[in-house]
Point group: C2
């Protein structure tokens, strides 16, 4: 289901194609979130129009509403959403455990402990069999097990299912992480076993590498997952306290995977900042998902080729009140191509107009799509280093030499 | 600037064309609100794509933010918004007075007194010179006069400006309404006088008929406005406690206008329910504006050809949880044409997904656009009565004999 086209000479980076039931996905690729069955503010055909071939839906949220039975009655998520390209579903582990461990984005990625306490109690018990929790939709007690997660994902009809794992937080002890990672490996076997017997035809399964920030645990986890019969491999859990550590932790995993499962596709869970995407591609990651481009969009923050500003411009700031400039000169996204000024977007954002949230979302997803296209073109042309340098220095995606010509 | 094409034989209804600086508008027409410089949730090109040729922007809100100076620097609203078709701006009177008289939609239209007290105090003084009020944006004291309103509308660069009027509420006494209507007439003269000297080339001015629900005051007001040099005539203020009274009040005005200003276009302010649009067209109204189709859309309520349900279906209701049907079979709007089921829209609305607010807005505006197209076709074919009956009986807009063939 995965074909490598070009291997980079100077790095583990590679281009390839995922051949899935609902179509092909050119890699490396960013995968926009369709958490509750929609890419927030957009229609599916618009996401496809930006060049995306794969979206990432959320088993946990869709289990609670509208529920797998309803989704199955519509012929799966594809039928419900009217999206005819591939879909990957996560297992729900990330969300279930975030209820116990606190705010996921902050906590699992190691950015502090706030919000943890508020939501404590939503998770009721973590057992070998699975996890008991309370639904945020109707307050009912629910149970999710490895087999249960695979069953829901079968009903959702995704092209790629992820195995159920415990997503250990940054602040877990080494002992907790070790025990948790072992249980995740036992759950991996249960998921694969359920899927071999009951999985829908055409759905492939990715295992998940855990192990926190402990080198030996990460490497062992990568070895264990690589030794399993999974079709692809995701890297999850805590990746460290900062970007440097994150890259180190990812490299431990990818080094093992390069050795033991070079032909299987790799997904990096929850990572999608511009510099992290470039670094991830250089480490040999094939796909990425992240809330960042869409979430920033809904906060009026647009992506621009400005590394010193973390590739961001906050359009809600008063400095843009009079700006006649578009978000980004020459950008082909609908927001820029239709000629809306920063001043107009600023006005709409200040006035709380939903149109603006959508326009900045379109811009951000367009920006990331072109970034990935540049990286793919760079690898295929044997010039990844040059392309990555240009992008890191503030080159606009879509304007690098490999794609512009 | 207005040409009547066909006069209905059985009623004062007529089709025509408004020839404005930014293009032609076929009438009768519904005019979607772009209150703060955007039709909520949509882009301008999408509004045009639904068939709309004119939008309605709000002087009061745009005065406060982003301010007329900024709008003028962008070449007016057309430049700021990137909308190249005609725009009508109201005068701000409706909003200014609603601060003193309470919630506009409920109070001015006679539907109770709630919300009035909460907002009292935002209006500081009503004087012959104009109105002093406090800005909801920054709390600053502001002043709006007839001349000031026209000056702002000149800066906005609308195709049609409305004169500054006092919008008298339903619960005002006859004496208050009489005095207020007289002042509105003095303000009409001041507006026209300012505009004759300073108005931008290509901008036309509509006078406004007030007079509340008093027959003699309404008729006198219509006579006074018809006797002025205004280019078109709007009907505003309180139109009564129910639909029957509203139609009676509108008829007093249109009867006078038919006699004294038959060649000038007429706009009915703030009215846009399906049955009211049909009745308004029969009374000889040429254009209508109303928040209803867009506001309902943002609350998940879609327009359908079901008179017994006031042409509405509330998609947030649990009854649609499993519905595979689109909002409306055969509807060409983006929401229906893309095949989204009521179940999917219900799920998205319950999940708070902005995509759904936009889809229902698109559907509702599409519905109203086709309704108006049917009424125009009915008049031109000499079959308005038949078309109106079919629509009132639950015929789907766009499927009546005059347009379907």
């Amino acid at each position: 289901m995965f074909t490598v086209r070009t291997r980079s000479s100077g790095s583990p980076a590679r281009t390839g194609t995922l051949r899935l039931t609902h179509g092909d996905v050119r890699t490396p690729a960013f995968v926009p979130l369709a958490t509750k069955g929609v890419v927030k503010t957009l229609e599916p055909h618009e996401v496809a129009g930006l060049g995306y071939e794969l979206i990432f839906a959320n088993t946990f949220h869709l289990l609670l509403a509208p529920g797998p039975e309803l989704v199955a009655r519509f012929g799966g998520l594809h039928g419900l959403m009217r999206w005819d390209r591939p879909i990957v579903t996560d297992s729900g582990g990330f969300q279930v455990f975030s209820m116990g461990h606190g705010n996921v984005a902050d906590e699992v990625k190691g950015r502090g402990q706030r919000a943890g306490r508020e939501r404590e109690g939503a998770i009721l018990a973590i057992e070998e069999e699975g996890v008991r929790f309370r639904s945020y939709v109707d307050g009912r007690e629910r149970f999710l097990s490895p087999e249960g997660s695979m069953e829901v994902q079968a009903a959702l009809g995704s092209d790629i299912a992820l195995v159920f794992d415990e997503c250990t937080p940054f602040h877990a002890t080494r002992e907790y992480t070790a025990r948790s990672t072992e249980r995740t490996h036992r759950w991996l076997r249960r998921c694969l076993s359920w899927h071999a017997r009951h999985g829908p035809e055409g759905q492939v399964v990715y295992g998940i590498v855990q192990g926190g920030v402990e080198q030996d645990l990460r490497r062992e986890s990568a070895q264990t997952v690589a030794a399993s019969a999974c079709d692809g491999i995701a890297i999850g859990g805590s990746l460290g306290a900062d970007k440097a550590q994150m890259r180190e932790v990812v490299a431990w995993a990818t080094t093992e995977l390069d050795r033991r499962a070079p032909a299987r596709p790799r997904h990096l869970l929850g990572i999608g900042e511009v510099d992290d995407l470039i670094a991830g591609v250089e480490l040999g990651i094939d796909t990425f998902d992240c809330a960042m481009p869409t979430r920033l969009g809904r906060h009026g923050v647009a992506l621009v080729p400005d590394p010193l500003a973390r590739w961001r411009v906050d359009l809600t700031k008063a400095s843009w009140r009079n700006s006649v400039d578009p978000i980004l000169d020459g950008c082909p996204c609908p927001a820029c191509a239709h000629g809306y000024s920063r001043a107009y977007l600023h006005h709409l954002l200040r006035a709380g107009e939903l149109t603006a949230l959508r326009l900045v979302t379109l811009h951000n997803l367009g920006f990331v799509a072109r970034l990935m296209e540049d990286l793919r073109a760079g690898i295929d042309a044997g010039r990844l280093e040059e392309v990555a340098s240009a992008l890191r220095a503030g080159g606009a995606p879509g304007a690098t030499s490999c794609t512009a010509g």
